[in-house]
């Protein structure tokens, strides 16, 4: 019995995206895609630099210059107190990241099962979904005062708000994921003798996974969004806090540093979620690869 797929005509040959071709590294550097990307960045940064320092457009008068920001972030002794050499910078990063981690983890642990049940059981959905949909439209920041009233500690309201936003998104997307599963799979499972709980484990959960992970990517974005907002309003430490206090203390370059750091970590965490999803859904990756994506 042969294990090699190449000799079995039944298996479509798939093109591996990382196949090495001749002179590939050079080809990649000169590839049009990378080139255009750099052009875009240069135009954006160039415009920023020019508008503040060279043309001195009136609207941009108070904006921190690109050079100032870069110098600031790289300086061992920053004028406004935050740079990659200052310990405090990392404290803030850690504070925000930790909060996001806790909030996101809680939201996933509670949201995914909630969504699965909402999609799976009509009874559960008819009772719970109306209440869920009543609470969902309330913007997360509108919960701030209530959160402050409810929780006595300083950390809890901030984490609660990020959790809430994330929870709604995750639960909703998971529910949609279950609803998106083709009826045939349920029927096939029943034909093959699966009992209800077996259908749940073997059809509902794997079938909803693609939607769940799309939801988780949106969810982590929303988590950061809410965290920053909460930190700006009522926090100590954290990237949102830096941005807010830098503004009130007229340390403008630090605002930009805060924003850039936020963007970076936001992107990083989102990519991590996507990577985990890809690992868990090998079957889908291979399917997509074969259809030429």
């Amino acid at each position: 019995m042969t294990n090699s797929n190449e000799s079995n005509p039944a298996v479509k040959q798939r093109r591996l995206s990382f196949e090495i071709r001749e002179g590939s590294l050079l080809t990649k550097i000169l590839s049009p895609r990378l080139f255009l990307m750099l052009v875009g960045f240069i135009i954006f940064l160039g415009f920023w630099h020019l508008s503040v320092e060279v043309w001195r457009l009136p609207r941009f008068a108070q904006m921190p210059a690109l050079r100032t920001v870069v110098a600031e972030i790289l300086s061992p002794n920053p004028t406004y107190g935050i740079s990659i050499f200052v310990g405090e910078y990392y404290q803030h990063i850690l504070a925000s990241c930790l909060r996001v981690f806790i909030a996101f983890a809680l939201a996933t642990i509670l949201g995914v099962p909630m969504g699965l049940f909402l999609g799976w059981s009509t009874k559960f959905r008819e009772y719970v979904f109306p209440v869920f949909e009543m609470l969902r439209p309330i913007p997360i920041l509108a919960w701030v005062p209530l959160a402050i009233i409810m929780f006595t500690s300083l950390e809890a309201p901030v984490i609660f708000l990020a959790f809430l936003a994330s929870f709604f998104v995750t639960a909703l997307n998971t529910m949609l994921g279950v609803e998106s599963i083709d009826e045939s799979y349920f029927r096939a499972a029943k034909c093959l003798g699966a009992k209800d709980y077996q259908v749940f484990l073997n059809v509902v959960i794997p079938g909803a996974t693609p939607f769940i992970f799309t939801g988780l990517q949106i969810s982590i974005g929303v988590c950061w969004f809410s965290l920053v907002a909460a930190e700006m309003v009522s926090g100590q430490f954290g990237l949102g806090y830096i941005i807010n206090t830098s503004y009130t203390n007229v340390r403008y370059p630090t605002i930009i540093i805060g924003m850039v750091t936020l963007g970076f970590f936001g992107y990083l965490t989102s990519a991590m979620v996507r990577a985990v999803g890809k690992r868990l859904m090998q079957w889908r990756m291979r399917e997509l690869a074969l259809s030429g994506n």
Binding site: I43, E126, A142, I148, I149, M232, S270
Partner: protein, 272 residues
Amino acid sequence: MIRSVQKFFFNRSSRRATIAIIVFLLFWETCSRSLGWFGFQVPWIGKIPAPSAVITAWIPLLTDSGYWTSWYLSGKRVFSGFLMAMILGIPFGLLLAINRTAYGIMFPTFEVLRPIPPLAWVPAAIIFWPTAEMSIAFVTFLGAFYTIVINVLGGAQSIDQRFFQAARSMGSSQWDIFKRIVLPATVPSIAVGASVGMGITWEVVVAAEMISGGGSDGGGKGGGLGFFIWDSYLGGSYQQIVVGMISIGIAGYLSSSLIRALGDHFSKWTRR
């Protein structure tokens, strides 16, 4: 009228929904009054004002013009920001979908800026724009803009290649292809993007109102429902906080439904 009420209660899912909401309200009321009724306070939920107190606080507000002005101000900000985002976002998204060069240049920068939460832009926006109103509008616009562009892109990119091939083989011009294939296919995605974008817009407006009206400044004159909530908190009238929250929830739900209805209408129209 009686008939439709009867029909409502015959429907099993409406019955269950009603029961669930009543149970929810009773649970809330009990927890909030737990200190007075049982002698010990339910943690966290116990501190929230009771639904009965909220309604008692709400009734006088219904005749207060200041309350409705808050609705108007928030609504105005939401719609202007949202409209701006649609006007700029849809063409931008379509451009990125159609033109490879434009995509190559602009999309990476767009993607790099996207993870920065719109609220993080607030201080930068305040520095940049002359009035507080414009900075709120800018931040609001940003929130919905990202969502709409991503959705339009996704919709345009998922158009089956065969439609293009069929059209070209029948001799359609570029403009024709755009008008008859790309646009109709992206309308549903625009509708979805608009719906989600509307929700995000409310988030941002409320946040911006709270931050620029509240925050460390305190006593700002921004107005709007977000400011109303913050003001109520500072003034110690906790029931009004909940009134404000529910008001925004209702406003958000109504605007999302409106957008969804419009989206459905246009989707049907393009399917002709």
